[in-house]
Structure formats: C-alpha cells, structure tokens
C-alpha cells in the first residue's frame, strides 16, 4: 500500500497492518507518531537527547506489542502518552534532573530571522522553563491538557487518576505557570 494512501487510516488499523508485515505501515506510523512522542517526552523532560531516548524506547515498545494489540481497548496515542510518562518518571527517579531552557531543537533559520517568530520561540522556551519548575504530575497534566489539548477523561486514563484529580492538577499547574510567566509578560509580549 502506498504511503500517502495511509493518511486516512487510523493508528490502530495501521498497527494491525504493521503486525501483519506491511512495511509501509512501519514508515507511516514512524512518521505520524514520532513527532508527537518526541515532543511530549521533551515537554516532560526538557532535554532533547533524553527525550529522543525515551521516544525511541516508547515506540519500540509499541512495535513489540503490535501483534497483541486489542482493537477498541485503548487509542494508540493514549497508550503512548502513558508509556512516555512512565519512562520519563523512571528517568527522573533515577536521579536525572530536568534542565530548564535547553534549546528545543534545531531552529529553522529562515523563520528565526523574523522578529515575530523569535518572540514565539522565546515564549516556547520560557514556557518550557516554567514547566520544568512544576511538580512532575502537574507538569504532565498541564502539558496533556493545554499543549496536547486532550480532554480530561483521556488525561485521567493516561495518568491513572480521576477526572477531578486531573482538573485539580491542571488548575494548580496553570496557576503556577501564570505566576512565573506573569513576571516576564512584557519581555514575552503577552497580556495577562
């Protein structure tokens, strides 16, 4: 099956094709899921190299579990978010600490020349630094709710907690972010 023909195929169906040996499904899933998994790991860890390791490991676990994947039980992305979070937690508990304000990746030089884009970059970096200062669970909840834009029930499933607990974590996390970033609002060019 050609790669572009898989654009409309759901993740779960692609995973079945992958388990059946469809090579195009491996490429399609890699291209589709890698950006999201890497970005999520980076937002939880604040370190590109660590985030790549976690993302690669999470996806490797997905490849291995593909033949046993049970349709309809969980979304592939929900499962991946959970695995990424667990892997990040393991790293943090092993003593590795997040480092604020590390560059988020290779900037696109043509866009970086624009002042507006530079401000966007500054905002993203400032937010990432503020996220790293949050307690781990608050950071995870805020990232899932306000950056990944998931619904509270799915976040609850990912984090293994109640919807009420998710609401509490996101509210506290967002309030803490507002306080930290509010001090830099002029620099970052936004109004509270």
């Amino acid at each position: 099956m050609p790669l572009d023909a898989m654009d409309d195929v759901p993740d779960e169906a692609l995973l079945v094709l992958f388990a059946n040996g469809e090579r195009a499904a491996a490429r399609a899933l890699t291209l589709r899921l890698s950006p999201r998994v890497l970005a999520h790991a980076y937002r939880l860890l604040g370190n590109r190299a660590e985030a790549e390791d976690v993302a690669q490991e999470a996806l490797l676990r997905l490849w291995r579990v593909a033949p046993e994947w049970r349709q309809g039980e969980a979304k592939v992305t929900t499962w991946l978010y959970r695995v990424v979070a667990n892997l990040c937690t393991d790293r943090l508990r092993r003593g590795w600490r997040t480092r604020p304000l590390e560059a988020a990746g290779d900037p696109a030089e043509d866009r970086a020349s624009a002042a507006e884009d530079m401000q966007e970059r500054a905002r993203a970096d400032a937010l990432q630094a503020a996220l790293q200062a949050l307690p781990e669970r608050q950071r995870q909840a805020v990232v899932l709710r306000h950056i990944e834009e998931l619904g509270n029930p799915e976040i609850a499933e990912i984090m293994g907690i109640s919807v009420e607990a998710v609401e509490s974590l996101t509210a506290r996390g967002k309030r803490a972010l507002s306080e930290v970033l509010g001090a830099r609002k002029d620099e970052l060019g936004y109004a509270e």
Binding site: S34, P35, L60, L127, Q128
Partner: protein, 135 residues
C-alpha cells in the same frame, strides 16, 4: 487567568507557541525509530515462517512417514510387536511339540490312519511310519 478557568489569552499564546515550536524529529532519529520498527517487523515474519515451517513438517511427517531401515524395517514390515510376538509363540510351540510330543498324539495318529501307530524320534523313521508296507 480568567474567571471561567480557561487559559487567558496570554497563556493561550504561550501554549500555542509551545505547540508551534515543538522539537521536530530529525532524519537520524527517524532512521533509528524506523530501524527498530523494521527489525521488530522482521522478527514477526521469521516467527511466522518458523511456525509455518514446523507445521508443514509435522503435517508431512503424518502423511508420509519415513521408511524404517535394517532390523527395524523388518520388524515394522512384519507388523510390529503384536505380529512378532505371535510368530515367536508359534515357533516355540513347534519346537516344544517336536522335542516332547504330548501323550495323546500317538492315539490321535492311530485314529487318522486306523492302525496302531507308534511314534518315536529315531533316525530310521520310515518303517514305523508305514508298517503295512513291506517289512
């Protein structure tokens, strides 16, 4: 923050910036991930191949059992243990009757030929077996 609990415009802009400037996977990272995927996928194919091969071998063995060779072949050709046991018992019985004939055997022979016959294991058997001829 607004009273509705939703992110205010400032925070919305911050979150939007984070989405826009998410770290993007580079070619090296994608190659590593795809390499993992293809290696795992190849493992599935090997496992499926091994299972199919084992299944086919078992089916072939059931349909076309390999012929046995040597004594085992003779043994199998005779019909296995039941047949060989029967043959052995018959052979032993024959030898026993030859060495120690039962008492009633002479009487039985007399009733067949209607004459008084004496059976004895002697080198010169001809005269005793056919007493009416010559002698």
């Amino acid at each position: 923050m607004s009273k509705t609990g939703k992110p205010d415009d400032g925070m919305k802009a911050m979150f939007a910036a984070a989405r826009t400037h998410a770290p993007e996977p580079d070619a090296d990272f994608l190659a590593r991930v795809l390499g993992d995927a293809e290696a795992v996928q190849a493992g599935f194919a090997e496992r499926a191949g091994d299972m199919a091969s084992a299944s086919a071998s078992a089916a072939a063995a059931r349909l076309y059992p390999a012929p046995a060779r040597g004594l085992r072949g003779v043994f199998a050709a005779l019909g296995g243990w039941p047949a060989v046991a029967g043959l052995g018992a018959a052979a032993l019985t024959g030898v026993w009757i030859g060495v120690a004939p039962p008492e009633g055997l002479s009487t039985a022979a007399q009733s067949v030929w209607d004459e008084d016959i004496t059976l004895a294991f002697e080198p010169d058997l001809g005269t005793d077996l056919f007493p009416g001829e010559g002698g």
